[in-house]
């Protein structure tokens, strides 16, 4: 067995009579960027929801770092090292940018409810530490100037960056990005691509769902193509671009 971080084993998910994911087996290699592509409704977001515990699979297994992930709540899955962003940005609009990231780091703090609420603020080293780490993260993403601004007032591109920053604050081993470039302009898309490559260099495995093919082919190490909940092809970007099944799925037969 190779160096895979996430394995989907004959995974199925039905919604009533609709089969969203059917008998899908897939391995995500550690330390690389893998993209999940496919036409709308192919089941990509469903797979993300299954992996992060927002949905329970109908059958099959999900294995993360060799361990089967089953009946785990989303917050537990977050704690074992899977971070995620959403297709439509999910931030805390009324909190400041810095607070958004601090909340993301909360799992990495050891202070419990009691110590964090009973102790007066100036005695709390933990909170200072979290704040310092969050500030570092902001700096990494070039968002430092917005630290005190309410997150909801940022432009969409920066909101997405912030969502990624919050996910990174968890110090995940695997990061799932759901269409990080949708709605971004060309310049922002390029910046997003650079950010994703930087994340890879931080030794975090990235699983990407994206419709922007240029971005996908540019940064991915592997591409998996899904249609009607089934895997129809996987391999390096160059192979995928020439795969007949893939072309058929995208252009229609």
């Amino acid at each position: 067995m190779s160096n895979s971080i996430l394995e989907l084993e004959v995974l199925c998910k039905n919604f009533g009579g609709v089969v969203a994911v059917s008998n899908l087996s897939l391995r995500i290699e550690k330390g690389f960027i893998t993209s999940l592509i496919g036409p709308n409704g192919a089941g990509k977001t469903t797979i993300f929801n299954l992996v992060t515990g927002f949905l329970e699979p109908t059958s099959g297994h999900i294995r993360f770092s060799g361990r089967i992930v089953k009946h785990m709540k989303p917050h537990t899955i977050a704690s074992i090292g899977i971070g995620r962003t959403f297709q439509n940005v999910q931030i805390f609009p009324k909190m400041s940018v810095l607070e958004n990231i601090m909340v993301g780091r909360h799992l990495r703090s050891r202070a419990g409810i009691l110590s964090s609420s009973v102790l007066p603020p100036f005695l709390r080293k933990e909170e200072k530490l979290i704040r310092a780490e969050a500030e570092k993260q902001l700096h990494f993403l070039d968002l430092s100037e917005f630290a005190r601004v309410p997150a909801g007032s940022l432009p969409l591109g920066n909101q997405r960056m912030l969502e990624i920053a919050r996910a990174l604050a968890l110090e995940p081993k695997l990061l799932l990005l759901d269409e990080p470039a949708s709605g971004l302009n060309a310049r922002e898309t390029i910046a997003m691509g650079e950010l994703i490559e930087k994340i890879k260099q931080m030794n975090i495995t990235v699983l990407l769902v994206e419709h922007d093919m240029e971005l996908v082919m540019d940064i991915s190490d592997y591409v998996a193509v899904i249609n009607f909940g089934k895997l129809i092809a996987e391999g390096p970007p160059v192979e995928i671009q020439e795969n007949k099944d893939v072309i058929a799925a995208y252009l229609g037969e």
Partner: protein, 301 residues
Amino acid sequence: MNYTDSTLIDVLQFLFMGIQRGSIYAMVAMGFNMIYNSTGIINFAQGEFVVLGGLMMVTLTMAFNLSIVFAFILTVLFVIITGILMERLTINPVKQPTVIRLIIITIAVSIIIKGAAMCFWGKGSHYMRHFSSTEPLDFYGATILPQTLWIFAILFFLVVAYVIFFNYTMTGKCMRACAINRDAARLAGINDRKMVMLSFALSAGIGAIAGIIITPIIQMDYARGAMLGLKGFGAAVLGGLGNSMGAVVAGVLLGVLEAFGAGYISSHYMDAIALVILLFVLFIRPSGIFGSSEAMRLKEF
């Protein structure tokens, strides 16, 4: 004493009485908001927390003769545990927690607590000794009870503690995050169920404090919860549901309006005044005077 003097004294007197009542509504409203923010429901047992706080305090101070401070702490703990039990036993196990189901559950719990309180403490109203002296203080001709000053001070302390907790502690931030966006909070590794439990604990605690400090003045009985809850609900709506600082201002405002209404119109209409205000707010500006209509749309009802 000439005419203008006595008018001024009346105004002052009504103002004190109003702020005192309003402080209690404000605390009840803060309790409503905490649970509303974490679950999207109105906890109709909020008034019962106040009653439990008051009655438990009566028992501990009058029957067991404990010191005020010690009894205060024990009572708050007792009601917090009641709040936690309520959440664990009746809210948490619900399979499909729709808003309407949860609200009906809270009504059921309020009836149960009321019944239990009646069995335990009887139907009579209970007197409790004041925190400090009962000698009224003179303030520009109007009188004010030391207990009333205690109430002002404790409301002030609660507001400060509230602001510090929600803005400067990680747990507070996590609770806020959960209220703003549940899914994103879970993704950030926050256990949302735990936050719901915590919100019940905190709002039970605030309810208990409100009950403890008002009991020396109004004398507590088992059936007071409904009216206190209703007035507090009025304050919460007036301040904009979910907006606790708005609720504090609105609660005090409601109390003052009530006191002036009672003073200048008739004390028979005192309860009616609060409810008429609640109706008008719902007719004219359902998002409350401090709430944004956008936030209202995002909530579930």
